[in-house]
Amino acid sequence: MELKTKKPLKKQVYLGKPHEPPPAELMAILDKFRGRKDALITVLEEIQHHYGYLPRQQLEATARELGFPMSQVFGVATFYNLFQFSAPGRYQVRVCKGTACYVGHSGEILEHLKEKLGIDEDETTPDKMFTLQTVACVGACSLAPVMVVNDRTSARMTPEKAWDALEHLRAEANGNGEVSR
């Protein structure tokens, strides 16, 4: 058999499964960044901002639409701490693990919340109310230890105060109107 001359490798790029066209809200995000090679992180930030997390299907659609290899999209998404791959609860509870907070025993707060909520770090309660996370530092070190719920920073926390705050939020969300923040 005659040896075939080596065919030049065609660049094969895996762009995800050909699903139905991406939903309009995703297209609105993607359209802004077409043709910009540096935009991947910003795109992912916007998708997470919209959906609350990075749904797999939307990531595949992003790769296909913007022409990034799937490996690159997942590579970037898994590299940065900000991105998450499962739907968060209504309240994202982040306990600060910065130096000042650590010296102020923020570890005890985290343990207490883990025990009371019955979940581990980066998990969501079954009622989809709370997602428990840690953050490296929010820069409010003089008020250590701090806890951030969604965008609200609470200062000088103790395990009990932190749990009280969460119970308040839960009561409020469940419609017991008399509890106010």
Partner: protein
């Protein structure tokens, strides 16, 4: 009578409850129809007394804090009404304009944070009223070479931690023949326990922009990026607002202030990766890739962002530039030591009485910063050590407090100047535990590209966990030392090279605690907690 009431509204003020105070203040002033302008400012730095309110009447300012909503009424009574029976002297911080009656503020020398807490960060007029963009106008009349020479003469060294002379860095990229050139501001303040850059941006964003525009002029850059931390949403939104204002003012965009200089800025939000503070990793992140460092050389000044010459400076470095140009390099150099000019801001936190943002001249003894400004340890405890430079830095023990704040002097102790995190540790803290804390941070943040860092930090962490759990082996401390050398010398980037510092310094100054841990006598509660972690 002209009266201004300033209220700090930075991230830390808001966490301390400044929003409620602002609403109470606003409604009280409106209700009483007082002729008062309420100004929302950045943080004055006195975080231990936040929310801070500054009442200025006819140029005479009185500072109060913490001001809770209930304290607003008596405070207004005191200044605008029937006398203040309800005002307690506990709330009073300072009565003097130069703050000399409150050592935390009076002893500082402010350059980069000079206007933080004085001006409204959303107001360009406020900035212009305090010599804003005057330095830029002056710089544009000089030649780029003269600007670089001024920065060289000022002895400004990079405030990100490594301390490379800024003027030399600028000269390198200025001489590069390739175009376009990029200017990047590293605002990815990832060290846990540091918030100087956030405070600077939230208090006085235009100072950073002005410094960047001058830098762009000096090095010949046409495009700039500010790589900001995603965990600082307020800082990012203030910066966006300021950039738009600067464009309208004509300080950004085409033909800046009629000089023919073209320069524009983009904000890039990071996505939470400590390693992106390293310059090559940061550039990859701007390019939209995984933020992993690459080998140097080529240095960014030759081949950086997208292969073009790039210059990366820290927020504080760039924020110093306008003061250097305006007041002259000799003034700036005169503030510091022979080798290093100017001031350095620190985030003073931990077991200290008066915590917050402080800015002192380089060459100030640590003792002065900790005791005179910070007031010593809180709750009557004794000072054990000061941790500087976060996970890349080290612990300086209490008996070395006469060390002066200077890049070389601090390096001699085993710590580093760092970006400015300064955490005070009192006698309740176990040093082995601290080393474990910092190492678990770097181990977690290691990008995994090179083996010494990826595997070495994990091995070191295992040893520390064993020690703390009371299951240490006789060979552990020797192995730990050897690993420190391997990781420090073998790693690719700054993260790995400096990761052993917290372990090395604690081993050097607190070896007895390691020995005690080896013999099973580690701090009780820590031991239990860690034993759980090890078995988990």
């Amino acid at each position: 009578m002209s009266a201004i009431i300033r209220l700090g509204m930075s991230t830390s003020d808001i966490a301390a409850g400044a929003e409620a105070t602002f609403l109470a203040l606003q409604s009280a002033v409106r209700h009483r129809q007082l002729p008062v302008e309420i100004k929302r400012t950045g943080s004055l730095g006195a975080s231990h007394r936040e929310p801070v309110v500054d009442v200025e009447i006819d140029g005479q300012s009185t500072l109060y804090g913490p001001v809770t909503p209930e304290r607003v009424r008596p405070l207004l009574d005191q200044h605008f009404g029937s006398g203040g029976r309800g005002v307690s002297s506990d709330w009073l911080i300072s009565r003097r304009n130069d703050r000399s009656d409150y050592p935390f503020l009076g002893k500082q020398v402010k350059v980069t944070t000079r206007l933080c807490g004085l001006i409204d960060p959303y107001s360009l007029e406020d900035y212009l009223a305090h010599d804003g963009y005057e330095a830029l106008k002056k710089a544009l009349k000089m030649s780029p070479e003269e600007v670089v020479q001024a920065v060289l003469d000022s002895k400004l060294r990079g405030r990100g931690g490594a301390g490379f002379p800024t003027g030399i860095k600028w000269n390198l990229i200025r001489k590069s023949p390739n175009f376009p050139k990029y200017l990047i501001c590293n605002a990815d303040e990832g060290d846990p326990g540091a918030f100087m850059d956030r405070a600077t941006i939230e208090g006085d964003p235009h100072k950073l922009l002005e410094g960047m525009i001058i830098a762009a002029y000096a090095i010949g850059a046409s495009r700039g990026y500010i790589y900001a931390r995603a965990e600082y949403p307020l800082a990012v939104s203030i910066l966006r607002h300021a950039i738009n204002q600067a464009r309208e003012y004509g300080a950004l965009g085409k033909n800046i202030l009629g000089s023919g200089l073209d320069f524009d800025l983009t904000i890039k939000e990071g996505a939470g990766a400590f390693v992106c503070g390293e310059e090559t990793a940061l550039m990859h992140s701007i390019e939209g890739k995984r933020g992993m460092p690459t080998m140097r050389p080529p240095y960014p000044a030759q081949s950086g962002l997208w292969g073009y010459p790039s210059n990366i400076n820290n927020v504080e470095t760039l924020a110093s530039i306008s003061s250097i140009v305006l007041n002259g390099p000799d003034w700036f150099a005169g503030l510091g030591t022979d080798k290093s000019g100017g001031t350095k801001a620190f985030a003073l936190t931990g077991a200290i009485q008066r915590s917050g943002l402080v800015e002192v001249p380089i060459g100030t003894p640590l003792r002065e910063l900790i005791y005179d400004i910070g007031g010593g340890c809180a709750d009557g405890h004794d000072l054990k050590a000061v941790q500087m430079g976060g996970p890349s830095g080290g612990c300086i023990p209490a008996n070395l407090m006469d060390t002066i704040i200077d890049y070389d002097e601090l390096r001699a102790t085993g710590a580093i100047m760092g970006s400015g995190g300064m955490v005070v540790l009192d006698d309740t803290v176990s040093m082995v535990n601290m080393a474990h804390y910092f190492l678990s941070f770097t181990q977690d943040e290691s990008c995994g590209k090179c083996v010494p860092c990826r595997v070495g930090t994990r091995k070191m962490l295992n040893i520390l966990q064993r020690l703390l759990a009371g299951r240490g082996r006789m060979t552990d401390i020797d192995n730990l030392r050897r690993l420190c050398i391997t990781v420090g010398q073998g790693s690719l980037c700054g993260l790995g090279q400096t990761a052993p510092n917290p372990v090395l310094t604690t081993l050097r100054y607190f070896e007895d605690e390691y020995m005690a841990a080896l013999e099973g006598g580690a701090n009780g509660n820590v031991q239990a907690q860690l034993a759980a972690e090890v078995t988990a």
